[in-house]
């Protein structure tokens, strides 16, 4: 299972690619596989402000809904509009074309609470057993 080394993770299976003041957010391969075929991604409007751990978006398969929580506080600056017609990108390429949104990070110190790739992998193993 792919867990790219340049990303930070949450226990709720979001990833964030921090890049200076902004961060791109998506869900992990593990989460996408658990959910099955993604049929709809409900994304917020750019401009919306969120606090860490608040619901940011939701993602749906035929028989399940998962909330996406904000890994860090910030303001949404961009969403992946391709997901409206091609939600399957989340399954096919969760760390690439299946990204969900970009936020402007308001409290950079919060990123210290995120999981490293190794810690995230350990978290998944723990959940499996």
């Amino acid at each position: 299972m792919a867990i790219p080394s340049d990303l930070k993770y949450t226990k709720e299976h979001e990833w964030i690619r921090l890049n200076g003041k902004t961060g791109v957010i998506g869900i992990t391969q593990f989460a996408a596989d658990q959910l099955g075929d993604v049929v709809f991604v409900d994304l917020p409007q750019p401009g919306q402000a969120v606090k860490q751990s608040e619901t940011l978006a939701s993602i749906e398969s035929v028989k399940a809904v998962s909330d996406i929580y904000a890994p860090v506080s910030g303001k949404v600056v961009r969403v992946n509009s391709a997901l409206a017609s091609k939600p399957e990108l989340v399954n096919a390429d969760p760390y690439g074309e299946g990204w969900m949104l970009e936020i402007e990070v308001s409290t950079p110190s919060e990123s210290s609470s995120l999981l490293s790739p190794a810690n995230y992998e350990a978290h998944i193993q723990e959940n499996k057993s």
Binding site: D37, V39, F40, E60, S61
Partner: protein, 464 residues
């Protein structure tokens, strides 16, 4: 025009003003009567139904619906009764409603019934709003929490949310019953109602119901009985005697009225006397052998249906209860529970029943998890394969407490031979999972269509 009725024309319609008249074209894909009848007869054949097939769909109680109900419903005095006819012109209709109320109250141990709710979920909302009103008028408005066990039907939390009540989930213990210690922790001065299905959604009787009832009442809350599984205890145990204050019953389950392919149903609610004034009005009353409607006072939550509920279905339940009598009612629960236990014991060697150590009630939940780990065949694959043999499938993936769940409810109206046929089929399927798993992944192949692409339907909705 087909000559369905004698036609006349009206200048009023021809001269409708620009602003009022329809300009948009109206294409309704007309078919001549003959072709329309053929179309629907052919469509209807593309369904499995109780009258064609064994239908062990757990939690849905797909029992045989006596045809006497259909015969009585065909009476013109019922089919042509207008809802605003004066009570003296529909005394037979009101008599049926009055008797049904009394019978349902007697069977459930309640003091007052309300027949308006059109379905179980409608009844749940009605009952929760009634409870809320009760607390509001008792000057105890901060009771806004509804406790539901974690394996409750999804309607319970959805109904609570519609009544603007907060859902608090109560854990189940390892015996598949409400965890009394967890319940104790979650009860408080904010508790309005505990909603409980008994037998619960695992098909198990909540044996500690006395303790549960006492705890809820001591905390000042009300105990609500979700009647989805009433069939298991019909005529034997009354929710009112178990301490429940309110109840909804699904007439399309326990009381045998046909499901209509998903409705219309009927979900009457019942309450103990202290809650009766808060029920929706108007109320049906009988004075010196004459039935009539009387408006509720301001304590009532108000109207809950545009007319008087789904009378057609209430009528069929009235017929059913007259056919049953006390002996029939007890026979129903006995055979429903015996059939389920018989099936459970026969299925156990094939698929584990995680909470099946003791007696189940009207249904049980088997798990395909070990089989899936071994062969890759899922509960859904099994369900689809059953369809190929002309039987309907058990409920799959509910309740969530059991992984790869197959929830089986045979009901009382099935012969032992039918149950044995189902067991034989399950044996074949489990063997096939090991020898020809692709046969299960590919199933069904003998139904009108093969496995339907639900992902495609959800990604690109085509809805008309």
């Amino acid at each position: 025009m087909s000559g369905l009725f004698h036609c006349a024309s009206s200048p009023r319609v021809e001269r409708l003003s620009e602003g009022l008249a329809r300009r948009a074209p109206l294409d309704l894909s007309v078919l001549p009567e003959n072709d329309l009848v053929r179309h629907h007869v052919n469509l209807s054949r593309k369904n499995l139904c109780v009258d064609s097939s064994f239908y062990p769909l757990g939690s849905c109680t797909m029992k045989y619906s006596p045809k006497a109900g259909e015969a009585v419903a065909a009476e013109r005095g019922f089919s042509s009764a207008h809802p605003w006819q004066k009570p003296e012109e529909v005394q037979g209709v009101l008599h049926v409603l009055g008797e049904l109320s009394r019978d349902l109250a007697a069977l459930t141990g309640m003091d007052a019934m309300c027949l308006y709710p059109a379905a179980g979920a409608h009844g749940e909302l009605c009952a929760l709003k009634t409870a809320r009103q009760y607390f509001r008028l008792k000057n105890d408005p901060n009771r806004t929490e509804v406790l539901v066990p974690e394996n409750a039907h999804g309607t319970n939390p959805a109904s609570a949310a519609m009544a603007k009540l907060q859902v608090v989930v109560v854990r189940m213990n390892n015996r598949g019953r409400v965890d009394v210690e967890d319940l104790r922790k979650k009860l408080s001065a904010r508790t309005a109602v505990l909603m409980l299905t008994n037998p619960n959604t695992l098909g198990l009787f909540e044996t500690e119901i006395d303790t549960v009832a006492k705890l809820v009442h001591d905390a000042g809350g009300l105990l609500y009985y979700d009647g989805a599984n009433l069939n298991a205890i019909l005529g034997r145990v009354r929710p009112g005697d178990m301490g429940f204050d309110m109840i909804h019953v699904n007439l399309h389950k326990t009381f045998s009225i046909p499901h209509g392919g998903g409705g219309p149903g009927a979900g009457p609610i019942g309450v103990k006397a202290h809650l009766a004034p808060f029920l929706p009005g108007p109320f049906l009353v009988q004075e010196s052998n004459r039935w009539s409607w009387t408006e509720a006072d301001s304590r009532s939550i108000g109207r809950f249906h545009g007319a008087h509920g789904n009378f057609l279905n209430l009528l069929k339940a009235w017929v059913y209860l007259h056919l049953l009598g006390d002996e029939g009612a007890r026979r129903v629960s006995l055979a429903a529970v015996l059939n389920a236990n018989y099936l459970q014991e026969k299925i156990k060697p094939l698929l584990p029943v995680p909470y099946g150590a003791g007696r189940c009630m009207h249904e049980f939940v088997a798990s395909a998890l070990p089989l899936k780990d071994e062969t890759g065949v899922s509960a859904m694959d099994i369900a689809k394969r059953i369809l190929d043999e002309g039987m309907y499938a058990p409920t799959v993936y509910f309740p969530l407490l059991v992984k790869e769940a197959l929830m089986v409810e045979p009901t009382e109206t099935e012969r032992r031979e039918t149950l044995d046929r189902f067991v034989a089929l399950m044996r074949t399927i489990v063997e096939e999972a090991r020898t020809h798993p692709e046969r299960l992944h590919d199933a069904p192949v003998r139904t009108p269509v093969g496995r339907v692409d639900e992902v495609r339907a959800a990604r690109n909705p085509v809805l008309k």
